[in-house]
Amino acid sequence: MQPNLKPIILSRPGTMIAHKSLKIIVTFTLALALLPFNAFAKADPEAEESKEFNPTDMIMHHIGDSHGWHFFGEGDSSFTLPLPVILFTEEGGFVTFMSSEFHHDTEGHHVVEKDGMRFVNYHEDIYKLDAGAETVEFDEEHNVLNASKPWDFSITKNVAAMFLTVILMLIFFFGLAGHHKKNKKAPAGFNNILETLVLFVRDEIARPQIGDKKYMKFMPFLLTVFFFIWITNLLGLLPGAANVTGNIAVTVSLGLFTLALILINGNKDFWQHTLWMPGIPTFVKPILAVVEVLGLIIKPVALMIRLFANITAGHIIILSLIGLIFILESAGVAGISVPFALFITILELLVAFLQAFIFTMLSALFIGMAVAEHEHH
């Protein structure tokens, strides 16, 4: 997965604008599918420096993670919330500094010196320059030539947005818990909405999928994952917000939680049915075991891809519609783009809930399958 999207995009300086827009859309759709085969593409710094509008860059910038939280403006005059950069280098241990030290440079020009090491931000990837290097350079296969990549544990925009979700969830649910500590009556207003949702997760997701006996054990995970995804999805729709649940790293982590719960809580029956299926000819058993183990891994992988793809796709559609205004260089297009984008945004409100529901539902289903008591025949 090393060859990535940027080089493909950068290697497409547009000639005709309309032609280019079409090409970009086609390229983008194909890009995901053909990603591993695009090794021939190379970085072209001139294309980036040209003032010509590049919608793919814009979209990738918006849906990607970054080291600072940019709200509006350009360059040094922009309004950007600086976030801490935390790096781990094998030579010098942990290095921390604020993202503002890059001075909004993402092209690898501005060098930050810390503890005798020199760092540049190239397309939101931080590189540690080798001695004597002034800027990061790549070969034709996009392998870095004069720098190395340190471990990056920065509080990026996505991590900051994640913290925001955490703070909101703590406020919401501590509030609801506080209500229940004080009185025994049903809560009113916002707490009532929250409680209805908690009961929705319990009665529509956990109980039917896992069963009355065992569902309580998994309620903390299911509730947390449901509200985390939903609230993060909704926050992601705000202007200037981060695309957290549309980031594969986030969904990978969430999927791993589901996988871990399946592996930890899978009972004897589950493992027997996975590894040595009873009631079939012996020579089929190993074949089926391979299929079952693959299925075990594919389930959480499907979860992580579904969430990531749905949320990212929604963002890309909205950004593409808005991008049309700049591609066609006409404010009149806004008359069509903006209502369409608004429509998609409203649709995304639904998708935000739906994806949270589906992720939680399927997690519960997989866990339920792992803990189910089989009737022995």
């Binding site: 990056d152 501590f174 818990a177 500590k181 319990r202 309620m219 947390t224 994952v225 790293a249 969430l254």
Partner: protein
């Protein structure tokens, strides 16, 4: 940064943040919330059950009342019936008595009349006899005033006697 290459840093933070969030919420939010909801549901169920019980009890009471009412009604009917029977019986008895008395009076009256009649008849008979004897004495006195006439009489009677 690549779209579909997961970054280690973000996975790290997501895992830590999610785990900590889950543990904190599990202890301080989910447990009290779910506990309170369950308690409330149980109390609601109990309230519903007791309401059902109360309803049943109410029905029982109503049925009892109905039964009592019916019994009272039946008793009343019985009493009315008895009273009516008594009344009829009394009337019948009274009628019977009156008839009897009337009959007695009538019978006595008839007896008296008979007696009076008989007495009158006897009186009449006595008077007739007396009169007859007086007449007969007068007649006989006249007929047997002479000897000859006495003989004639004796002869005639003898003649009649032989004929018998």
């Amino acid at each position: 940064m690549d779209l579909i290459t997961p970054e280690v840093g973000l996975i790290f933070w997501q895992t830590i943040v999610f785990l900590v969030l889950m543990l904190i919420l599990a202890k301080f939010a989910w447990k009290p919330i779910l506990g309170a909801v369950r308690t409330r549901e149980e109390s609601i169920n109990e309230a519903l059950a007791s309401a059902e019980d109360a309803r049943k009890e109410m029905q029982n009471l109503k049925a009892d009342n109905e039964k009592l009412l019916q019994e009272a009604r039946a008793e009343r009917d019985e009493m009315l019936k008895e009273a009516r029977q008594l009344k009829e019986k009394m009337i019948a008895e009274a009628e019977g008595d009156a008839q009897e008395k009337a009959d007695k009076i009538v019978a006595k009256a008839k007896e008296n009349i008979e007696m009076e009649k008989r007495a009158a008849m006897a009186d009449i008979k006595n008077q007739v006899a007396t009169l007859s004897i007086e007449i007969a004495e007068k007649v006989i006195g006249k007929e047997l005033s002479t000897e000859e006439k006495q003989h004639q009489m004796i002869d005639k009677m003898l003649k009649d006697a032989t004929l018998n």
